[in-house]
């Protein structure tokens, strides 16, 4: 059943990619450009494909739930794919409100990227440790993910706004930072490519090393080690010999993955620039030229307004209730808790700046981008780098 469910996830992933093509077609199709507010045929097909993809992923989710006996949101793979699914779900809802195919063209790639990213982590069905054995697992984690996904829609809207509004005829700070944001997305793609490639070739290199407590330990690399662990010794033959060694306090394996992802990102980015012969954002700009800027701004704001209460409920209130039951206290300054608070404070600042200080348009769009970076930081870095009570069995 787990294998069957995985097929549905894969189908959903492909359908999202197909959906992107249709939404792209919807933008490029000039015949209906004059008819406002009525999505053309391409957009309608794109939406149907997206919904079918969403249902397929929902099937994956339900089958996996049945197979494991608990909601599949208990490890990094499960949570991240659920987050991707929520993002698609949030997009579908927002699409029915505003009917903008362009939002699909920006949201679906992000969702697909998130799902692909999550699939790079161990996909086994993990049994629940005692702290997770509670119905609050389903309630807290799903609500939080849905809240974050709705907030992430504002990132897609913000990105559209920036691609459209930032002047690409001259080099400015805005063009630079926009490229940095896009490079971040491209590096994630780089990570997916690198991980998939070496997983397909079954690469494995084992090391003996001395860990931070001064004890001998072993580590298995699944991608070639550019950096090796502290005082490493490669135990496999014919494997790539690391170029550097890290101090014991740094996890060499994770650093190695980051370096590979960035390197792959740079290669992809340079290739793109060479093909496009302009900034990536500049290449995207023509796609956004027919969009109503006020509408995009409104979508971004609206998604924060809708997502903020949901996130508060799932990420703070339900989280506190469960923490009181499982960990004896509703708040303990665990890194994940702190970063949920930071996310919440950030969006609170966003709303105050918008409501009272009149931060609309470009400023608001930049804030939405920063907000998404904070959410991703909490998902990725806090789990993998700053270990705490929430650290999943990721690798």
């Amino acid at each position: 059943m787990v294998e069957l469910s995985s097929n549905f996830l894969f189908a959903a992933f492909i359908l999202y990619l197909v959906g992107i093509l249709f939404f792209g077609g919807a933008i490029k199709d000039k015949r209906h450009a004059d008819k406002k507010n009525t999505p053309n045929k391409w957009a309608k097909i794109g939406l149907v494909v997206t919904i079918v993809g969403f249902l397929s992923q929902l099937t994956f989710f339900i089958l996996r739930w049945i197979a494991s006996g608990h909601a599949p949101v208990s490890n990094l793979f499960e949570f991240t794919t659920f987050f991707g699914m929520s993002l698609v779900g949030a997009f579908i809802v927002i699409y029915f409100m505003y009917k903008t195919p362009l939002l699909g063209l920006f949201t679906l790639p992000v969702a697909a990227l998130i799902i692909a990213y999550g699939s790079m982590f161990p996909r086994e069905v993990t049994p629940l440790i005692p702290a997770l054995q509670s119905y609050w697992l389903h309630i807290h984690v799903t609500t939080t993910a849905i809240g974050q996904a709705i907030l992430a829609i504002s990132f897609a809207a913000g990105l559209i706004y920036l691609v459209r509004s930032v002047d690409q005829t001259k080099k400015t700070k805005s063009t630079l930072w926009l490229e940095v944001v896009l490079f971040g997305l491209i590096s994630t793609l780089g990570f997916v490519f690198v991980s998939s490639f070496f997983a397909a070739t079954d690469y494995s290199a084992n090391f003996n090393y001395i860990n931070k407590d001064g004890q001998p330990a072993t580590e298995e690399y699944t991608i070639p080690a550019l950096v090796g662990p502290h005082q490493f010794e490669l135990t496999d033959k014919d494997r790539f010999e690391p170029l550097f060694e890290t101090p014991a306090i740094i996890s060499a394996k994770k650093l190695n993955t980051v370096i590979w992802s960035l390197a792959a990102g740079i290669v992809l980015y340079v290739l793109l620039r060479a093909i496009l012969r302009k900034r990536v954002a500049a290449a995207l700009q023509p796609w956004t030229k027919n969009i109503n800027m006020d509408l995009v701004d409104e979508i971004g704001y609206r998604s924060v307004l809708i997502g903020f209460p949901v996130f508060t409920l799932g990420g703070l209130i339900f989280a506190m209730i469960w923490a009181q039951i499982a960990w004896t206290r509703f708040w303990g300054w665990d890194p994940k808790e702190v970063w949920a608070l930071i996310t919440w404070l950030f969006y609170a600042a966003f709303l105050h700046l918008r409501l009272s200080k009149g931060w609309h348009g470009e400023k608001s769009a930049w804030l939405a981008v920063i907000g998404f970076i904070i959410i991703m930081f909490n998902l990725v870095a806090v789990n993998l780098v700053i270990a705490g009570l929430h650290s999943y069995a990721g690798s």
Partner: protein
């Protein structure tokens, strides 16, 4: 207090920008603007009116949204600093904190410690920041909610021309307002759940005014939440104790003043078994090695009967048996007992045999209860063993003397005196794990180790938190407020007949796009122009 009388006759508080009743612009500065600032209905906010005394200045400082946002940002950055390295409460208590940070994280760790970031969230400056934010919440809310309430309550149906034409959504039509058209518009508005008020043939349609109170309701919730957090420091509101309980042991539950007792019948520690548990978990178990399935204390709860008599054993009445697991605390009378820690196989009894070193003959068993050892063991026929000293957690102290680190039998050691028919004065033997010393010279007999018994120990956190309901109430009110403010929009539509023209204007506190679509529906087929967005027009030009 000075007051401002508007031409329409309404008396406004000093500092009012737009007349509460008719909306006429009262401030000269505002008259120059093409659109009026509708954020707080042009009401008289204290912070915008007075700035003389020190109290005014403090009030104005904290009522500013700019200051509020800065406080949020500073708090946000400060909070993130505390996650760079673990807080002191999460580091293993194996060495002093300063040493740990320096050893683990080098000079950065030392700096972290020196700056006090290892206890950042209870530092005076962090608490001060939260307090400042709390004050800002109160003052900023009061500064706005009272005048806003007055304005919305006193608003008249027929607003002044200068008010209408300075609305973002505004239009005029050179049309006669027929009864039919009015009827149609009114019907449409009612369909959209607007509440209608009419005066001299003018119309004010309004809906969801309550959404304007959302921000103030959620701020109130936050204040209650923060007060709840503060109450933790009031004695008696909060109990945080730990109860270590060995299997078979019964102890008073700390914090209950001896009213409740708990017995640990058994502590269970289970891991997932790849053969017995669901097949679907096999891969994960193979990979991880051990995955814990359950921590459980089978406990019996007792209540003491009668008064406490010092020195006397309490009379206990059983209340119930309960299994305490993670996520399933035992609750009694406002107290909750949580499964938080354990120790498997703690030594509870140690058995020895008295043995003649030469012949190997053994003379009876000595079983020592490590928690509460008996001091004399008579083995009969003139054989006797006395415990001269007992060190439950043996070490040599700084002076090289045998000592005990704690009362927990982690490393028990004994000094025995062995009495035998040959040595009626007794021989002294020092026995520890894998050690057998004869400090006072060669002995004829020795104590031979004959086995140990172990018990599991459970650790339960005992918690009482009378602040929980206040914190919960604060959270609930916050959620209500934030939903109220976020999911509804306060909208108004004005319709006035002025000199053979029909003027329409509309306002919403947010989501202008939605308002525009709504207005298109409302005014369609009425012959009257729907209010148009003057901001968007400007942009086009």
């Amino acid at each position: 207090m000075n007051e401002v009388k508007c031409e329409c006759g309404h008396i406004n508080p000093q500092g009012t920008i737009l007349c509460e009743s008719c909306g006429r612009v009262l401030e000269d500065k505002e008259k120059e603007k093409q659109l009026v600032d509708m954020r707080y209905e042009g009401s008289a906010r204290r912070s915008q009116t007075y700035n003389k005394t020190i109290i005014d200045k403090i009030w104005n400082f904290f009522s500013s949204v700019k200051v509020g946002v800065w406080l949020i940002i500073i708090l946000l950055v400060a909070s993130s600093l505390g996650t760079i390295f673990p807080q002191e409460m999460y580091i293993p208590p194996v060495m002093p904190a300063w040493e740990y940070y320096e050893e683990q994280y080098g000079w950065l760790g030392k700096l972290y410690y020196d700056l006090g970031f290892h206890n950042l969230y209870s530092s005076w400056w962090y608490l001060l920041l939260i307090a400042a934010l709390g004050i800002s919440l109160v003052i900023a809310s009061l500064d706005r909610v009272v005048p806003l309430y007055r304005s919305l309550k006193n608003q008249r149906v027929s607003r002044h021309e200068s008010f209408l034409k300075r609305q973002r959504m505004f239009s005029t039509s050179d049309a006669v307002l027929t009864d039919e058209a009015v009827g149609k518009i009114k019907e449409n508005l009612t369909k959209k759940r607007y509440k209608l008020r009419e005066e001299n043939g003018d119309i004010l349609a309004e809906k969801n005014r309550f959404s304007r109170w959302g921000p103030y309701v959620n701020h109130l919730g936050l204040i209650i939440f923060l007060i709840g957090g503060m109450l933790r420091f009031v004695p008696g509101m909060y109990v945080d104790e730990i109860l270590w309980l060995r299997e078979g042991e019964t102890k008073a539950i700390p914090g209950t003043e001896g009213r409740y007792y708990l017995e640990n019948n058994q502590f269970i520690f289970e891991v997932y078994d790849k053969d017995k548990d669901e097949e679907v978990f096999q891969d994960a178990i193979n990979k991880a090695g051990t995955v814990v399935k359950n921590y459980q204390t089978d406990a019996t709860l007792y209540q003491r009967q009668g008064e406490i008599v010092p020195g006397e054993k309490p009379e206990l009445e059983k209340i119930r048996d309960q299994a305490i697991q993670v996520n399933k605390p035992l609750k009694i009378d406002g107290f909750a007992l949580y499964q938080v820690d354990y120790k498997l196989d703690e030594m509870s009894k140690m058995a020895f045999k008295l043995e003649n070193k030469e012949t190997g003959d053994q003379f009876g068993d000595v079983t020592v209860d490590l928690y509460d050892p008996e001091m004399k063991y008579d083995l009969g026929k003139g054989y006797k063993v006395e415990v001269m000293s007992y060190f439950p957690d043996f070490e040599f102290n700084e002076d090289g003397e045998p000592a005990t680190k704690s009362r927990i039998p982690n490393n028990p050691a004994f000094i025995f005196k062995m009495f035998t028919p040959e040595n009626t004065e007794g021989e002294v033997s020092f026995v520890a794990i894998r050690q057998n010393l004869e400090p006072l010279g060669e002995n004829d007999y020795k104590m031979t180790f004959a086995g140990i018994e172990t018990k599991n120990v459970t650790a339960l956190t005992v918690r009482k938190d009378h602040t929980l309901w206040i914190i919960g109430l604060g959270g609930l009110i916050f959620m209500i407020g934030v939903i109220q403010g976020a999911y509804w929009n306060h909208r108004r539509v004005w319709l006035r007949r002025i000199n053979n023209q029909v003027w329409t204007a509309a306002h919403t506190n947010k989501n202008w796009h939605g308002l525009k679509r709504e207005l298109e529906d409302v005014f369609s087929d009425s012959g009257i122009a729907a209010p148009e967005d003057q901001v968007a027009e400007e942009k086009k030009e």
